[in-house]
């Protein structure tokens, strides 16, 4: 790195730090919903990526309405889109649990196949409804461009927003799981279903809401991603591998583990792709994760759950 001034290097260091941070947020957003569904309920939801995509398409629809039908709403549509994305995916998740998943709780492999199939069906529905081409949302002006901290340092505004959404959502999930009555029920059901039933908890209802909540969070993540990438029928399949990677690496039933693992993978990838090329960074990151999982199959944070 010869020939650069100290100021330039500091600026790059700062921006590089931010790009690592926003990658961390992307990973965490992707993984949060799945961490709840897979981590707390043990359901392998292969359609998770499609729930993300659905959230993204709902955002696209909202932006389309805001820009083409009611242009004066363009500046304000985004928060509305997030809420709609949450509601839409929450409802779909609720129905999926009610009519599909609950019949398969004791058959993990069948769940895998059923949700995989559901994912394919959803993909084709997206393709039929929205067309095969990628869609891009029209962003409100306040989300475009970057905040110029100094001459050299540019912090992308859309990245900042993703960071903000991630922080709020993560805190929300933590409070919900560890501070609310509903969270107690969820954790009780996870730890010992029979006892929870005996204590008067309607575990079927808890399952349904947990699954729906996981899907709803995926929807919010999808909405947030429209600001940094595009939306196509198969967008979800791009995310699903990374999502499972983060959750498994973190340790299935640990939310803290998910956060730590998202952070580790994101930083490794971001720093490596600065010094190597994008493809090599991905290869090395994946290899490291595989090797660590060979020695520590339970993931970074072991779950202390009685099954």
């Amino acid at each position: 790195m010869g020939g650069y001034t100290g100021e330039e290097l500091t600026a790059i260091f700062l921006m590089q730090g931010f790009s690592g941070l926003s990658l961390f947020c992307v990973f965490l957003l992707m993984a949060l919903g799945l961490a709840i569904i897979f981590g707390q309920m043990g359901v392998i939801n292969m359609a998770h990526g499609e729930f993300l995509t659905l959230g993204a398409y709902i955002t696209y629809l909202t932006s389309y309405l805001a820009s083409d039908v009611w242009p004066f709403l363009l500046d304000y549509y985004f928060p509305v889109a997030i809420i709609l994305a949450f509601l839409g995916t929450f409802i779909l998740g609720y129905l999926v649990e009610r009519f599909l998943i609950r019949f398969l709780y004791n058959r993990p492999l069948d769940t895998l196949l059923a949700t995989w199939g559901l994912g394919l069906i959803l993909q084709q529905i997206f393709r039929s409804v929205f067309g095969p081409r990628e869609k891009s949302v029209v962003m409100p002006d306040w989300l475009m461009g970057s905040y110029q901290a100094t001459d050299m340092v540019d912090i992308p505004l859309n990245g900042l927003m993703v960071v903000g959404i991630t922080i709020l959502l993560t805190i929300g999930v933590f409070i919900l799981l560890y501070k609310s009555r509903w969270g107690i029920k969820v954790r009780a059901t996870t730890q010992n279903r029979t006892m929870a039933n005996a204590a008067g908890i309607n575990t079927d209802r808890v399952d349904r809401l947990t699954f729906a909540l996981g899907c709803g969070i995926a929807g919010v993540a999808g909405a947030a991603f429209t600001t940094i990438a595009s939306t196509g029928p198969t967008t979800g399949s791009l995310y699903i591998v990374d999502t499972f990677l983060v959750v498994v690496f973190g340790g299935a039933a640990s939310l803290l583990g998910t956060v730590a693992s998202a952070f580790g993978i994101a930083q490794a990838q971001s720093i490596l792709s600065f010094f190597l090329s994008g493809s090599m960074a991905k290869v090395i990151t994946l290899m490291t994760v595989v090797i660590i999982l060979m020695f520590r199959p339970q993931g970074l944070f072991a779950s202390k759950v009685r099954r």
């Binding site: 650069y4 330039e8 790059i12 921006m15 590089q16 931010f18 790009s19 690592g20 926003s22 990658l23 992307v26 084709q124 393709r127 067309g131 095969p132 081409r133 990628e134 869609k135 891009s136 029209v138 475009m144 461009g145 970057s146 110029q148 050299m152 540019d154 992308p156 505004l157 859309n158 990245g159 991603f225 600001t227 940094i228 990438a229 595009s230 196509g232 029928p233 198969t234 967008t235 791009l238 990838q269 971001s270 720093i271 792709s273 600065f274 090329s277 994008g278 493809s279 960074a281 991905k282």
Partner: protein, 422 residues
């Protein structure tokens, strides 16, 4: 598109063929002129079809083989639309050798073995006279052995990496040198670019293209490549790369990022404050189709090196755009590959009429030398090597998703096996 203009626009130099060829050409031109005024007697089926193709006294069957489902459907839809439009127009003008074209459409489903299987079916069971299809190089490579074994005929629309030439395939898009060299020369002369940063998706087309670009920059332009990077297909995080570009400050970023990555790449460039005013950028992978997904506001000021832009101010293009929009809606956009796909059926019709036969070998033999001066992208000529002579143009994108053509080259000879570039 009226028959007279088409007849006037077509020319056949007959460089490769002898007197018989010229006579056939003459006969074909006369036939075309006749079509405009009155229906003519079609030549008998035994005469025009000696190899058992699906040709009857009043129809000829062709195949369309593209992905309608799966990841590639996003890109291949435009090609299917253009091919169908061309065939419809040809039929409206009286068809080929007096026969209406019937289409059998198969779905390659973005899966390369499926492409091979479907081409097998089209050639052996349906006996189609020709196939318009494939998009990715991988799918073309998968069907190539089938076409060569069954002696089928394929019109392939996508600009691609070159290094291929088959008796059974006509390539209606640019091979790599046609797209890259002229574009880099332009950047060198007009933008004064001396240092280059090469960025691509990680598969054969960008890698081969960048190899050619690097050789050209280093050996011909005597410039410097300050970085060369590939990102996995579908990658959506370019933060680190953008920082590296900011640090190296190249005169030009030369890009070949494809698919969903493309969208993320431009959105993030823009968001990181790296506008194209500050950092000039030339790409070989952005057409009107991609801009639709990326959003015009994210590519304003970006340069693309293509043979075709929807905004081209040529009579042939105006007719094409109007016909395309009339059939597929006002909002439809036409990218470079869509236009290449539109050429396929027309070039085939012209070759069949020059050959006076549907037989593949005769059609192939009659093809080189065919010229079309009023094609949507202007002059073109079919070369001996089955690629097209064509111009390269530099378009500068505007916020409305259309490009201003800022420069165009002379008609460039196709050179799929460029010496000194491998």
């Amino acid at each position: 598109m009226g028959t007279t203009t088409t007849a006037a626009g077509w020319r056949h130099t007959g460089t490769s063929a002898g007197l018989r060829q010229s006579l056939r050409t003459l006969a074909a031109s006369v036939m075309m002129a006749t079509t405009a005024t009155a229906a003519m007697a079609a030549p008998s089926t035994e005469e025009v079809n000696t190899t058992g193709l699906a040709v009857t006294d009043d129809t000829v069957t062709v195949g369309i083989l593209h992905s309608l489902t799966g990841t590639m459907a996003i890109s291949e839809t435009g090609s299917v639309q253009a091919e169908k439009l061309a065939i419809e127009q040809i039929n409206a003008q009286g068809g080929v050798l007096g026969r209406q074209i019937k289409i059998i459409q198969e779905d390659g489903a973005s899966d390369w073995p499926t492409f091979a299987e479907k081409s097998h079916k089209l050639l052996e069971r349906d006996k189609v006279a020709t196939v318009f299809g494939c998009w990715t190089s991988a799918s073309r490579k998968a069907v190539l052995p089938v076409f060569e074994k069954d002696n089928g005929l394929l019109y392939y629309p996508t600009f691609y990496e070159g290094l291929e030439e088959s008796h059974n395939v006509f390539y209606t898009g640019q091979e790599a040198t046609q797209q890259i060299l002229a574009g880099l020369n332009w950047a060198h002369e007009e933008l004064g670019a001396k240092t280059f940063y090469l960025v691509g998706s990680d598969y054969i087309w960008p890698r081969t293209s960048m190899k050619i670009a690097r050789k050209h920059i280093e050996n011909v332009l005597h410039g410097k490549v300050v970085g060369e990077e590939y990102y996995p297909l579908g990658s959506t995080q370019f933060g680190s790369l953008i920082n590296k570009i900011k640090l190296k400050k190249p005169d030009l970023v030369f890009g070949a990022v494809v698919g969903g990555s493309n969208v993320a790449w431009f959105k993030q460039l823009n968001a990181a404050g790296l506008t194209f005013k500050k950092q000039p950028m030339l790409t070989i992978s952005v057409t009107e189709d991609e801009v639709l997904g990326i959003g015009g506001e994210n590519v304003e000021g970006l340069y693309s090196s293509m043979k075709y832009f929807q905004s081209l101010d040529l009579p042939g293009n105006k007719e094409f755009v109007a016909a395309f929009k009339a059939k597929y809606g006002e909002d439809a956009v036409i990218g470079d590959v869509t236009e290449s796909a539109y050429l396929g059926p027309w070039l085939w019709k012209r070759a069949v009429e020059a050959a006076g036969s549907f037989d593949v070998d005769k059609v192939v033999a009659a093809s080189p030398g065919i010229e079309w001066n009023t094609s949507p992208h202007g002059e073109l000529k079919v070369d001996e090597n089955h690629h097209l002579w064509m111009r390269t143009r530099i378009g500068k994108w505007k916020a409305d998703g259309q490009a201003d053509v800022v420069w165009e080259s002379d008609v460039i000879e196709p050179n799929p096996f460029p010496e000194g570039y491998q």
